[in-house]
Amino acid sequence: MSRFRVSVQIVPRKGLLDPQGKAVSDALHALGFADVEDTRIGRHIVLDVKADSAAAAENSVKAMCDKLLANPVTEDYVIASTVTA
């Protein structure tokens, strides 16, 4: 068993209003960052997981996302990185 640090990004699903993201987009435009087309604000979760391999750790985290960490109705998640912890 090794220890892996798995980072997950969870963001509001595209197409659903993200009022925080919209407020930030508007602020960025006001600051002159006209190239910003969309901003979505979600959460970043870092988990230390015991597993036999990086793939096993990721599979475990995917199961956690499906069951608890992400809302399947409103959010999408992606595993951003997996490193040995």
Partner: protein, 230 residues
């Protein structure tokens, strides 16, 4: 009729709900702790408002896994009444006992205010004390009350009469201006397909006596009483 009011760590409308069904409706009620597995023969279960688990992760996401939720689910599956108010609605959606989800208010702010609701739908268990199209005045108090679901789910909810309350103007007109949180199709409350599980963001338990400013929430509980029996 016996009510069970579930208290989760962070619930704060449980005593209001208890007061509404005992002092105002004249029924018996017990407080149930979220770790309980015994619902003590209650006919109706209420998941009250509040901030269960401090809204950690998402409102209702962790309360969904409280031990008593197994009993709430079994109660719902038996066709018995389950009411989720505010945080209770969020918990029912997270538990998949109701479709959709509640997201952050479109205006980002927590809103504590009176709203008007139009009664619709076909859930006699909760609506027999109202007339269809009746306009109610009931308070809201939430930061994450924007109901969302995909279009197919919204269509199904509307077509099957599961949308029971919609935010509206004082005259019953549904408009963007009367929608406090940006909810899809101005939806404030829904039931499951069977009509026994109700979720709503507004607080009927806070509108049960003139002293509170409205009695428009009382017929909801009286409808239950008429259907389930004293």
């Amino acid at each position: 009729m016996k009510f069970g009011i579930v208290t989760f760590p962070g619930s704060n409308c449980d005593v209001d709900a208890l007061h509404a069904v005992t002092d105002q409706l004249g029924q018996t009620a017990v407080s149930l702790w979220h770790r309980d597995h015994d619902i003590q023969g209650c006919d109706v279960l209420i998941l009250p408002g509040g901030f269960s688990y401090g809204d950690a992760l998402r409102a209702g996401a962790i309360a969904r896994f409280s031990p008593i939720m197994q009993e709430v689910k079994a109660h719902a599956e038996r066709g018995a009444p389950v009411i989720g108010i505010c945080n209770g609605f969020q918990i029912l959606c997270e538990s998949h006992l109701l479709p959709g989800a509640l997201m952050r208010n479109a205006g980002l702010k927590f809103i504590c205010d009176w709203v008007h609701l139009r009664v619709e739908g076909t859930a006699p268990l909760y609506l027999s004390g109202y007339t269809s199209g009746q306009v109610l005045r009931i308070p809201i108090a939430h930061g994450e009350g924007r109901f969302v679901a995909d279009d197919a789910t919204l269509d199904t909810l509307e077509q099957s009469g599961q949308v029971v309350f919609r935010y509206c103007e004082a005259d019953g007109t549904v408009s963007a201006g009367a929608n406090p949180n940006g909810a899809a199709r101005s939806i404030a409350g829904i039931t499951n397909a069977a009509g026994n599980v109700l979720g709503m963001m507004p607080h009927p338990e806070r509108a049960v006596e003139a002293l509170l400013g409205s009695t428009d929430g009382l017929p909801l509980f009286e409808s239950l009483l008429a259907r389930v029996g004293a």
